[in-house]
């Protein structure tokens, strides 16, 4: 038996079919008590970040407009329009603030997100 330290174990959870995600639009998955915002960009890449907007507290980032800022894939909070990097979770308008990012992959046409 191998004991994995809890902090480093990534548990993958299947959340939806790849085709359930629309290009350039987010969706939200509920994994345990985590709300995870999933995004599929125009080139087919997937990203996962926390769904809670750190400025308003509301669970809404998955409903923001997806785009790019200086080439970096990003989403704008639908509440007050702060922009977050989909790659790093850092708020590009206020780099002192960031949202969590989660690993995401496709296995057999199914989207899976990793939660530690």
């Amino acid at each position: 038996m191998t004991v994995l330290s809890e902090a480093t174990t990534t548990v993958w959870t299947a959340v939806c079919a790849y085709t359930d995600l629309l290009p350039e639009r987010g969706a939200c998955a509920l994994v345990g008590r985590h709300q995870i915002a999933l995004f599929r960009t125009f080139d087919g890449e997937l990203f996962a970040i926390g769904n809670q907007d750190p400025f308003s507290g509301a669970q809404v980032l998955s409903r923001g407009i997806v785009g790019t800022r200086a080439g970096e894939p990003s989403v704008a909070s639908p509440m007050h329009k702060e922009v977050f990097s989909l790659v790093t979770g850092v708020c590009l308008d206020d780099p002192a603030v960031a949202v969590p990012i989660y690993p995401i992959r496709v296995a057999d046409g199914t989207v899976e997100v990793g939660v530690r």
């Binding site: 629309l22 709300q35 407009i65 790019t68 800022r69 509440m79 960031a98």
Partner: protein, 814 residues
């Protein structure tokens, strides 16, 4: 060299900055009486409307010693020292007096009472604000520029405000009697009470010993708990007098062209200085004095010459301007009593040379014609007034464009060329033009445009085009997707600025349902869920209630839906009913019930037509002259769903009593005996604006065609998120009239056709959405648990309805 400056106001600050910038090698000590460093006094009033003292404060260059709260009480010219009230002695080699001026308080009995103020410093404003908090009304003594500014401030603090002016009209130094009358109309329309040919005989106290009112010379008492003196300013020359320097008969420290006083070791600059018989109360000449003195101290030969006293200001939302002389051999006046506009030009006897001008209500001539003072006019005076200036005006290079900072057109052009500037911000940075009162900004923009520079109108980093240009590209090329547009005309993949703009353009041009195909991904969350997002992530539902008319049966359905879904219910300011607190997965269920009962989307979420408010009109009201409700309903049904650069609001009133507040709307209609008057460009919101009368006594048919064209022209040419009010101001009312009423661009047939297509293709967005399973699939909180409601959403109760519980913030600091 030891340089000491007395006073730290705008002039002192500019002097020190200029000295440091020019490499002054000595030691600079500034002694200022106020408890804070110099701040932008011109913008003082903005302190009451939200700007902080720090915001207004000028930066102090490195190395300068600044002693605050240090009033200088004496100068020892022989020993070359100054002494402050707290006993500090500062030696100098060169002394500069920049002591400014102080408000003149006439010797009225009662002027020392608590509740009497002047309007000069941040401390004054703090005191006024505190006193206003417990007061109901205020009075300002003095109806000049500063007096009206102070009155506006009192009004902003919630006081019912009076202005008493000794002269026969307001702002007698800037405008003549005719202008004063028009100005008075504006000022009174804002709710201020004006008393001309009136002063203060006495200020009386109440039982608490504080100010209770002002007694006018005619014996009438104006009740007021706050009195502000604004009866002019006096140069602060007391130090100079004491030290035996030469001062003017009516005050002011006498200086030569190099700003030197009668003692060669002492200079005086700013509002305290008297040059060639003149004391200047405007910051522009004061700054020039500072520059001249700095140059002289460094050994230069700069000289101060009589300065321009032109002023332009926006007071209480009214533009007032005066430039050049206030009389001349001939004058030409343009007056529009309805619009509250008064413009007058003074010209030489051959009507060729411009001598000066006065503007009230619209200062366009100031912007365009001021640089021509003393020169040949670029056209016939009357024509210039009627058209707001010739289309292409070539200013001479030495014409001053920024009087605050004494910058000429030539200097602006040189900066634009040398530094490759493309925007006004760049000009401000390089030349200082436009950084003080801001009244020259339109002129700077003009120069920039004329200099052939491509002025940046880029929507965002993805498109170098303005919204109007993108509209034309999409329309002319027949583009139907965002991908095609950004591939061919943009870079990157868009953002929250350009995507909704393009979505709106595609919708205005009739590209089907806003959630069809790729369009869905462009929409802001409100349009995406066809509802308005609220602070806790829930949405609100606003069914359309055209004209505010609703049957009891429909009211009952709304009540039942609200009750069954537990929604917070409120009557809106737009004669509709808003249901709050719906989760995304509830929206289709709610709308199914509403659509079945005959309701449709109210587009409260869209940049589109909101409501056409109505008053009850001639059907019921004993004063009504036309059927306001009937017209409002037909307008609302005609323009519902029309996507536009910003939201559109309308109203119809059945008579001139105007119960529907039509003049606060983008397009408002007021019934007349003969038909309808159409008003356009009204706005509530951040910057309220009364609508302008566009056309009178129209038949219903004419009215609708005119609105069709007005709206479509706006949809085509406005900027992103520009309401009709700002758009109309940027285009000019006259121009829009020509396009819409006279078809000066020959596009009316096209605009009509576009509107006809809109009307014919309208379909209720919610009905289409609930009938389409593909669209409905998006209305879930969780893609992996469609039936699960968002557990983070919770409510408590207040006044028998729900109220959101807000989530605690978990901010991650990276």
């Amino acid at each position: 060299m030891k340089l000491v400056v007395v006073g730290h106001g705008p002039t002192s600050s500019r002097l020190v900055e200029a000295l440091v910038a020019k490499g002054f090698g000595g030691r600079i000590t500034v002694l200022g009486e106020e408890p804070r460093a110099a701040y932008d006094r011109v913008a003082l009033t903005s302190y009451l409307t939200g700007r902080s003292a720090e915001d207004l404060t000028y930066p102090v260059p490195e190395g300068v010693v600044l002693r605050l709260a240090s009033r200088v009480t004496g100068i020892d010219r022989d020993g070359r020292t100054v002494t402050t009230a707290d006993g500090h002695v500062e030696p100098y080699d060169v002394l500069v007096l920049a002591t400014g001026s102080s408000p003149f308080v006439p010797p009225v009995p009662g002027r020392e009472l608590e509740g009497c103020f002047v309007y000069r410093t941040i401390d004054d404003l703090d005191a006024i604000r505190e006193a206003a908090a417990g007061a109901g009304s205020g009075v300002v003594i003095g109806g000049g520029l500063l007096g009206l500014e102070a009155a506006d401030a009192l009004r902003g603090l919630g006081l019912s405000t009076h202005v008493v002016e000794m002269g026969g009209w307001l702002m007698p130094r800037q405008v003549d009697e005719g202008g004063g009358a028009v100005l008075r109309g504006h000022v009174e329309a804002l709710g201020l009470t004006v008393h001309t040919e009136a002063g203060a005989r006495e200020i009386v106290a109440g039982p608490d010993g504080r100010v209770a009112g002002l007694v006018k010379p005619d014996g009438e008492t104006i009740a007021a708990q706050v009195v502000v003196f604004s009866a002019g300013v006096r140069p602060r020359d007391e130090l100079a007098r004491q030290a035996g320097l030469e001062v003017g008969d009516r005050g002011g420290i006498a200086v030569d062209d190099g700003m030197r006083t009668s003692d060669p070791a002492i200079y005086a600059v700013g509002e305290c200085a008297l040059h060639d018989g003149m004391v200047y109360g405007l910051v522009g000449p004061c700054f020039t004095m500072a520059e001249v003195a700095a140059d002289r101290i460094l050994g230069g030969q700069a000289a101060f010459a009589r300065a321009d006293l032109s002023t332009k200001l926006k007071l209480l939302g009214v533009e007032v301007a005066q430039f050049g002389a206030m009389d001349g051999a001939l004058d030409v006046t343009f007056m529009d009593p309805v619009g509250g506009i008064y413009q007058k030009l003074f010209v030489s006897d051959d009507a060729r040379t411009l001598l000066g001008g006065i503007c009230v209500g619209d200062a366009t001539p100031y912007n365009t014609l001021k640089p021509f003072v003393g020169r040949d006019l670029p056209g016939a005076p009357s024509e210039l007034l009627f058209t707001g200036g010739p289309a292409s005006m070539d200013l001479p290079d030495d014409a001053q464009v920024c009087s605050c900072n004494n910058v000429t057109k030539g200097q602006v052009c040189a900066a634009v060329a040398d530094h490759g500037l493309t925007d006004v911000a760049g000009i401000k940075g390089c030349t200082r033009a436009g950084t003080t009162c801001g009244s020259c900004l339109p002129m700077l923009k003009q120069i920039l445009i004329k200099s052939g520079v491509e002025v940046s109108k880029a929507l965002c980093e993805h498109f170098a085009h303005s919204r109007a240009e993108l509209f034309d590209i999409v329309r002319v090329r027949g583009i139907t997707t965002f991908s095609q547009l950004i591939d061919e005309h943009g870079t990157g993949r868009g953002c929250d600025v350009c995507k909704p703009v393009v979505a709106s353009i595609l919708a205005s041009l009739g590209n089907g349902h806003i959630l069809d195909g790729e369009q869905a991904a462009l929409q802001d969350t409100n349009d995406h869920f066809l509802a308005n997002i609220q602070r806790n992530g829930t949405y609100s539902v606003v069914p359309r209630i055209p004209g505010g008319e609703i049957t009891p049966d429909k009211l009952i359905v709304i009540g039942e839906v609200a009750r069954d879904f537990g929604l917070y219910t409120k009557i809106t300011g737009g004669q509709r009913i808003d249901l709050f607190g719906a989760r995304v997965e509830q929206l289709p269920l709610i709308w199914k019930r509403l659509v079945d009962a005959g309701f449709e989307s109210g587009h409260a979420y869209g940049k589109a037509l909101r409501t056409v408010k109505s008053c009850v009109g001639s059907t019921w009201c004993r004063y009504g002259v036309q059927d306001a409700v009937g017209l409002a309903i037909s307008l609302e049904l005609r323009y519902r769903g029309l996507r536009s650069p910003h939201k559109l609001k309308s109203a119809v009133s059945g008579c001139a009593r105007e119960c529907a507040e039509a003049r606060g709307k983008d397009f408002g209609v007021i019934a007349t005996e003969q038909g309808w008057n159409l008003y356009v460009g009204g706005n509530g919101g951040f910057t309220p604006r009364h609508a302008d009368l566009f056309a009178s006594d129209l038949s219903t048919e004419e009215l609708i065609r005119t609105i069709d064209r007005f709206l479509m022209f706006y949809v085509r040419t406005a900027d992103r998120l520009q309401r009709t009010s700002a758009w109309l101001e940027s285009q000019g009312l006259e121009y829009v009239r020509q396009v819409v009423l006279e078809d000066s661009l020959g596009i009316c047939a096209d605009l009509d056709a576009q509107m006809d297509r809109h009307v014919a293709s309208y379909a209720d967005e919610w009905r289409t959405a609930i009938e389409d399973p593909g669209k409905l699939r998006r209305f879930v909180s969780f893609v992996n648990a469609p039936a699960t409601p968002d557990p983070s959403i919770a409510f408590t109760a207040e006044r028998d309805q729900i109220k959101p519980v807000l989530l605690p913030l978990e901010v991650v600091r990276s």
